[in-house]
Amino acid sequence: MPHMPKFAGVRRLGARVQEARGAPRWILYVGIGIVVFFVVLAIFAPLIAPYGFDQVSSDGTRFPKQAAPSGSHLFGTTVQSTDVLSRVIWGARTSIEVVLLAVVFSIAIGVPLGLVSGYVGGKLDRGLVLVMDALFAFPYLLLAIVVAFLLSDKLQNFFLSDLFGAGIVTAAVAITVVYIPQYFRVVRNHVISVREEPYVEAARALGAKRRTIIGRYIFYNVIQNVPALATLNAADAILTLAALGFLGYGIQPTEAAEWGYDISRAIDDVGAGIWWTGVFPGMAIVLLVTGFTLVGEGLNDVLNPLIRYRRIRKPKIPAEQEAS
């Protein structure tokens, strides 16, 4: 059997990125830069944020209520006298945590399901496709709302809740449920087209076990689709989390800072002309989602053979020999 180098799929990806020229590469890098910036904010929040996410006083003095941005509160304060800048930074931690959980869960469930369903086919496949299509047809926000609703009570004792907080796990699960069908679909469709390839047939003819075929040949081929989808998944996860927070079904305000919730409180301030409580969390959402989307777009541009540019190597012409 031909020897496949380790991580062949990933290597192929890296090669494509190297080869790409022009805009796609920059888009990718800018996107990665933004995402890394927020991840740093998330990890080092306790060190970077000037105050806690629900801190209302420092050294015995209360923070002013709804104060405009100033030297002591760069982004101003909210109606609860909390510091907006701190809440934006802590909110980054909440978002990254939810994104991490949601993407990991979705991939861990959606990809294997798609692989198995696509390869095995038959009744299992048809049944799964039906369920997934139904889930897909369900308006995603409604699904997330209802799932968040149901689970908010049940997840208080879940093991991950101690690590992350029940609200975060709830939001992550709600988003996962919405996204599993996407991974399933993409992976399954790709598997179906790949499984008829000659090299797969050859492997089968040579007696390779199902597990080997799926694991070695099909998996690496199919896995290339996942990163781009994962970035979209991450981007949508943040938007869905914010939407849940805005509607009040997401993370409870006592648990963690969340940008969507902050905007919902800020709408009450709009009437009084107080803009800083909503503008800064909103910009954070836009920036982070844009970051993930740019990474996704960049990857897509780099990988989509129909529209990517390849570096054109100039032909090497041996030096002309002087005619004697």
Partner: protein, 520 residues
């Protein structure tokens, strides 16, 4: 024409339309039409199906009751009845006025009154107030002008119960006796009729020209417009789209409106209260004495004035008894016992005397939207106050309303936020529900002397006797502290200049009398 050019023309046309439209915006102001904006949505305009303030709002204006609370007052006077009295401790008799008519011309007689009460009990709608009639054995209409109520136990509050909107008089010839009448087809004898009802959007009340009672409406029409978000309501009262914004604007909005042009903020005494509840079974403390000490220490540490100022910008008043000011027999029992301002040293002593180790861990629950979005701010403030005293460490927790309301009363929360809205403005409604042994709070509070006093005050209508009884009741409440009263809300409305009469309707009854409001 190419596609691009076509698109461009369409865009230009749209822009032109937009610019033109901007010039013609704005709300309408017709002679004699009052527009009130609110964020509360009603349930039903059939009295038997209503137990909520927004429904009551309209019912009080569309129907008559046997008795009602006049503007600015806090005691019942006859409305549809000529006179009412107890003939013996368990029998209450009313004589009807002459010539009363419903808006469709039908006569209003004692038969309609009996019908209204019987159907309330029979329908027992899940959203209705039939549980308030638990003490009624039966109601008779021996002739066209007499109504007799037979009660199971003596009940001094019965006249108050008769003022509740759920017991308004309905037309027996139009309303079914075993189910609710649709909200847009109701017939009453009040000052207005329901001209139209679009759920979630607006209710339109038109002056009832066949109204036979006193004080007919001073305007022709009242429109109640419903809003989802208080900030939208605030913007609309600022730009004149509505004349009155009442219930519920956030404190931020109200502050901002005080300075706005063309709008003024009107305040009146309100009887809505907020309080902190202790579940005596679940709370901290190894003995009853320790638990009591903790409760008293919390009462001594909470700074109500700071909450009223910092969180609510003065739209609420500190509350020193479960019975709010403005009601007959209200005292300031908590201020009498603990003082009006917090006293951390006294709290320290109370805890030390009972041998309680400080800081005491307290888990306090609250709910984000049912009691207003400022609830979070309020409890953050309370946490800060208690933590800063050094005597407590507070953990705050919250859940959304429906889960919260079930968990709170089924022994899941050791300390929790609660609010109360009166059924009727009598001190009994603010004491019996909380302090009685079978209180809906279900907090295992049982003081035999308190139970005895509550029974006595309900049984007598002698005012001076009741005054003495209620003083004792409130004092015991301050001593035992099963609940800590925090604030009583003012009734606050933003009113456009030229609109008069709103202050006149602000009183403990919570009846919003559209008929008193005029527009210049």
């Amino acid at each position: 024409m190419s596609l691009v050019r076509r698109l461009g023309t369409a865009a230009a046309l749209a822009a032109a339309l937009a610019v033109a439209a901007v010039g013609c915006g704005g709300g309408g102001e017709e002679g004699g039409t009052i527009i009130r904006g609110t964020t509360d949505q009603p349930v039903s305009y059939d009295p038997a199906g209503a137990y909520d303030l927004p429904s009551y709002d309209v019912i009080y204006n569309v129907y008559q009751n046997l008795l009602t609370i006049p503007p600015g007052d806090n005691k019942p006077v006859p409305e549809a009845a000529e006179s009412c009295d107890f003939t013996n401790p368990t029998t209450y008799e009313c004589t009807m006025k002459d010539g009363l008519k419903f808006s469709d011309g039908d006569d209003l007689t004692a038969e309609d009154v009996k019908f209204s009460f019987d159907r309330n009990v029979e329908i027992a709608d899940p959203n209705g107030a039939s549980s308030l009639l638990a003490n009624m054995k039966s109601v008779d209409a021996p002739d066209d002008k007499t109504v007799v109520f037979h009660l199971k136990k003596p009940d001094a509050t019965w006249p108050f119960v008769l003022t509740v909107a759920s017991f308004a008089i309905v037309d027996s010839t139009d309303f079914p006796k075993d189910k609710l009448q649709p909200s847009d087809e109701v017939i009453g004898s009040g000052r207005y009729t329901v001209a139209s009802y679009k759920p979630g959007q607006q209710t339109v009340l038109e002056k009832n020209t066949s109204y036979t009672g006193s004080d007919p409406a001073e305007n022709d029409r009242a429109i109640v417009q419903y809003y989802d978000k208080p900030s939208a309501l605030k913007l609309d009262v600022e730009n004149g789209e509505v004349d009155i914004a009442y219930r519920s604007l956030s404190p931020t909005d109200i502050e901002s409106l005080r300075d706005a042009d063309g709008v003024s903020v009107v305040e009146g005494n309100g009887t809505e209260i907020r309080y902190l509840v202790f579940n005596l079974k679940l709370q901290e403390g190894t003995s009853d004495a320790q638990k009591l000490a903790i409760r008293q220490a919390v009462a001594q540490t909470v700074d109500r004035a700071a909450i009223a100022k910092n969180v609510y910008d003065g739209t609420v008043d500190p509350l020193y008894s479960m019975v709010p000011q403005g009601l007959q027999f209200a005292t300031k029992a908590f201020a009498d016992k603990y003082g009006e301002s917090p006293d951390v040293n006294a709290a320290k002593k109370t805890l030390a005397d009972a041998g309680v180790k400080t800081p005491v861990p307290l888990e306090i629950w609250w709910t984000p939207s049912h009691y207003g979005p400022a609830s979070g701010d309020e409890y953050a403030e309370i946490k800060t106050q208690l933590d800063d005293s050094g005597l407590f460490t507070v953990t705050l927790k919250s859940t959304e309303w429906t889960q919260y309301s079930e968990a709170a009363f089924t022994n899941k929360y050791p300390q929790y936020q609660l609010g109360w809205f009166p059924d009727y403005p009598d001190a009994n409604d603010y004491t019996a529900p909380f302090y009685a042994k079978d209180s809906f709070l279900n907090i295992s509070y049982d003081n035999p002397e308190m139970n005895r006093l509550l029974e006595q005050e309900a049984a007598t209508s002698n005012e001076s006797k009741r005054a003495a009884l209620f003083k004792k009741i409130q004092d015991i409440g301050a001593e035992d502290v099963p609940t800590v009263p925090i604030w009583q809300g003012k009734q606050v409305a933003a009113v456009r200049d030229g609109v008069n009469g709103v202050e006149d309707t602000f009183d403990p009854s919570f009846i919003f009398r559209y008929w008193l409001i005029t527009k210049d």
